[in-house]
């Protein structure tokens, strides 16, 4: 597939380690965008800080590279201010679930029409290998010297428990299937969340490419993503990690509820102060 409309116009010094899973994620995101025919100038890629969060710098589009943990908050506002834009958040597991946990929870509930791709390498890459919320029990790091004793964070179970609009997990070790799911997520209307299992070759020697191939399986063809109870059961399964679309629950989005777009579809940048109406308000306060 020719994804060159998303290629950077010039040489870029990519900050990822050779062999990192981020390269493949970048590649399939570009493919998905190309196939969905989304124009670079109509797309905003928002991210926080981390290795994953650098992704928007490596494809040609509008970029909002904000603060660690805060990408979802900013992205939700970008979408609200201009619903004509496609808005995608790309950030790591630390950014998405640690620093940004509260925004993750509340935007599942708020349901803005954005896509959230979490690059889940089960480790803090950029800060050199501390545990992340999704690090497995017993994972040894320079900080967690006896191994992680926290229960690993389960973003899928949380999202399903909160009745999220779209919940999926993929492993970037399988690019083809990941591409299909990510494409679905981007075109889905509502807060669509994809947990992307991604090897970090430098700091996670446990959850490697091989591990992500051997410890996963796909939800079977007959699986019904509308069944929330089943979705929750699958998301909380012990043992091998199921992959695929766990849960789909289409419902009105945050933007759908906004009175500002009821009769006027113009994005906010096209609007002006309504001084005649303000004059009326002022006069009503003379009573």
């Amino acid at each position: 597939m020719d994804t060159s409309i998303y290629d950077m116009p010039h040489e870029t010094d990519v900050a990822w380690c050779p062999g990192c899973g981020n390269f493949s994620i970048l590649k399939i995101v570009k493919q998905a965008l190309t196939e969905l025919d989304i124009k670079p100038e109509k797309l905003v890629m928002a991210s926080g800080i981390g290795q994953a969060a650098k992704t928007p710098h490596y494809l040609k589009t509008n970029v909002f590279n904000g603060l660690h943990g805060r990408a979802v908050a900013a992205a939700m506002a970008v979408k609200a201010a201009n619903p004509e834009l496609t808005v995608i958040v790309e950030s790591g597991d630390g950014c998405s679930f640690g620093e940004g946990g509260n925004h993750f929870i509340h935007n599942i509930l708020r349901n803005p029409n954005i896509t959230h791709l979490a690059h889940d390498n089960m480790v803090y890459g950029l800060t050199k290998g501390q545990a992340s919320p999704t690090s497995q029990f017993g994972f040894i790091t320079p900080v967690q010297v006896q191994g992680v004793t926290n229960e690993p964070f389960n973003p899928l179970a949380l999202a399903i428990a909160l009745d999220a609009a779209f919940v999926a997990r993929v492993s970037i070790a399988d690019q083809e299937k990941s591409f299909e799911v990510i494409k679905q997520a981007i075109s889905f209307k509502g807060y669509s969340f994809v947990d992307i299992l991604q090897p970090c070759v430098s700091f996670n020697k446990i959850n490697t490419w091989k591990w992500f191939r051997e410890n996963v399986y796909y939800l079977e063809e007959s699986y019904d993503p509308k069944n929330r109870t089943e979705a929750f059961k699958r998301a909380t399964e012990k043992g091998k990690l199921p992959l695929g679309v766990f849960y789909k629950n289409e419902k009105p989005t945050f933007e759908d509820y906004l009175p500002v777009y009821k009769t006027n579809k113009d994005p906010l940048f096209k609007r002006e102060a309504n001084l005649p109406q303000l004059q009326k308000l002022i006069d009503s306060m003379r009573q």
Binding site: R70, A81, I105, L275, Q277
Partner: protein, 567 residues
């Protein structure tokens, strides 16, 4: 009497605010200048709160005063609460159980009225307050048609019985009030002024909210926190009329990041919060500094540290707002002195933020946002808004290095260019750079020095009150304005002037001339460390004397006057 000061004091939940609204509304419609302000506890029921209503026949007096001419105690603890403000001249109108005589220096001035009994005769305790409203109306000669139509507007939705009972309660109050006048127990002699009838009444929160509407605000994300929430509530009520997106954020960190995201996408956004909430926003503030997105912050100050006094007033956060946020970048801070300034400065803040792509602050406080002002107009004829947004082309660079430091601001989806903003240090295109030799210093100069220079050129000048040939100069900022101004007008000193700053940062260089003229400069501030005094020392190398108050209450006119007489 040129002016009458009336205080209502009782528990939270007793309906003092209702009396305040009804009385100030009807007195204004009758042609009196009115102003009211409340001091209250951080609780929904009980405690002891008081509301001061100032009624005058010249320009409205919008300052806090200690003096009480007439006091309505509505609870048994009221008189103790106000002990230090009751004088032998204070007339106390209340029922037996609420008049603790040990706090009444002059028993001849006690007027007992059986409010509860009268209210019960009419239909229940809930009418108690309306009986006192009736007394007010009689004392000030408010015509019955005004009160009737006002009460009808207010209560008709509650059904005819309730409306008629309210009217009856008001009439009973009026009869009592008229009897007081006849008995010569008190005498009020104020001129009505017909032009006042057309004044508008609004509180500081509303003024700020309306200023933002005048600027074309269309996005607000905030997390409730006293005393800043009034702005969010008012805008929510008006959201549909004015096309405003309202978002109650999950926390203040989200709020500020949303505000910045919204500006990035072309909205005009604001957050409203108080010190503790702003503390959570400081990383976001710094983000707007490096992204060069405009951002407008309304910070309604209350005393800290920590939770402090949630419903009280103070000016303790100037240094915090000035220095909050890591790294170095330009910002501007405005501090309105009353409703009118709040309106116009807020409107200005959006355009300034947009013009120079910087964070701009409206720094108010509880006293300002919760005070009710009446003013002739908010004149919209000179309101101008400029959106500093450019349509992009393929070669667009968000951080293009220009002579004056301002790069044309594109927004995503408008034009064929791409808009990259980055919280990392970045190149002109908005991509990460670590070029510490060339780009980094250039970007710092752009965000800090170049913008500061521009902001100083647009400085909103302070207002000088009093003689121009002063030898003593009082300096204030924000809501101390009305108390210092009134105190100065009342004082006998001819050598004292008052310089009120509405922009507290950055200051223009030539403003120092005001200070140089004085033999002595004194800052008057609602904090313990003379925070604006420090700004003056930093900018002008002058160390002013200080007159400070930091107990959570605003300055009263009397205490400022006493200070002026003694300097």
């Amino acid at each position: 009497m040129k002016e009458v000061s009336i205080v209502l004091c009782g528990e939270a939940g007793q309906g003092i605010a209702t009396v305040e609204q009804l009385v100030t509304g009807m007195l204004k419609l009758s042609g009196y200048h009115v102003y009211s302000t409340s001091e209250f506890m951080s609780r929904i029921r009980g405690g002891t709160n008081s509301t001061l209503i100032r009624i005058s026949d010249e320009k409205s007096k919008s300052a806090f005063i200690d003096r009480i001419d007439i006091l309505f105690p509505l609870s048994s603890k009221a008189l103790k609460h106000l002990e230090h403000r009751i004088s032998p001249e204070t007339i106390i109108i209340g029922e037996e159980g609420n008049i603790a005589e040990e706090y009444c220096p002059n028993r001849a001035n006690i007027i007992k009225v059986d409010f509860t009994k009268i209210a019960n005769e009419i239909g229940g305790k809930i009418y108690t307050n309306i009986v006192s409203v009736g007394i007010f109306l009689a004392l000030f000669g408010v015509e019955e048609n005004i009160s009737k139509s006002y009460l009808t507007k207010r209560f008709s939705s509650k059904g005819d019985t309730i409306l008629q009972n309210n009217i009856k309660a008001c009439q009973r109050g009026s009869e009592i009030g008229n009897q007081m006048l006849e008995d010569g127990k008190l005498k009020i002699d104020l001129q009505k002024d017909d032009s006042v009838k057309n004044y508008l009444t609004l509180n500081g929160s509303q003024a700020i909210a309306m200023g933002s509407i005048a600027a074309g605000l269309n996005f607000i994300s905030s997390y409730p926190m006293s005393p800043s929430t009034g702005v969010l509530v008012f805008l929510s009520q008006k959201a549909e009329d004015f096309g405003i997106i309202i978002d109650q954020a999950e926390d203040e960190i989200a709020a500020v990041n949303k505000g910045i995201g919204a500006w990035y996408a072309g909205a005009r956004a604001m957050i409203t919060t108080s010190g503790g909430g702003f503390a959570l926003m400081t990383e976001g503030l710094s983000l707007s500094g490096i992204l060069e997105t405009p951002m407008v912050f309304h910070i309604a100050q209350r005393p800290g540290p920590g939770t402090g006094l949630p419903t009280r007033t103070g000016q303790e956060d100037l240094q915090f707002v000035l220095n909050g946020g890591h790294g170095e970048f330009a910002r501007a801070i405005f501090a309105p002195g009353n409703a009118e300034e709040a309106f116009f400065l807020t409107q200005h803040a959006f355009n300034l933020a947009d013009k120079y792509q910087v964070p701009v602050f409206i720094l108010s406080d509880q006293f300002l946002v919760d005070s009710h002002y009446s003013l002739p107009d908010l004149d919209l004829t000179n309101i101008k808004n400029t959106k500093y947004i450019e349509k992009t082309d393929e070669n667009y660079k968000r951080y293009l290095l220009t002579e004056n430091g301002i790069s044309p601001r594109g927004i995503p989806g408008y034009g064929s260019g791409l808009v990259n903003v980055d919280s990392d240090e970045h190149d002109e295109e908005g991509h990460i750079t670590e070029d510490v030799h060339d780009l980094r210093p250039k970007m710092v100069d752009k965000r800090l020095y170049k913008k500061l220079k521009l902001l100083k050129e647009d400085f909103v000048k302070p207002e000088l009150i009093g003689p121009t040939d002063y030898s003593i100069l009082l300096i204030g900022w924000g809501s101390t304005y009305s108390a210092v101004k009134e105190a100065l007008e009342l004082s006998t000193r001819k050598d004292v002037a008052f310089l009120h700053f509405k922009q507290v940062y950055p200051l223009s260089e030539d403003t120092i001339d005001y200070l140089k003229k004085a033999k002595k400069v004194v800052v008057v501030e609602n904090n313990a460390t003379a925070q604006f005094g420090k700004v003056i020392t930093l900018e002008y190398n002058i160390k002013p004397d200080q007159f400070l108050k930091y107990n959570g209450m605003p300055f009263s006119v009397e205490e400022v006057k006493e200070f002026i007489e003694k300097i």
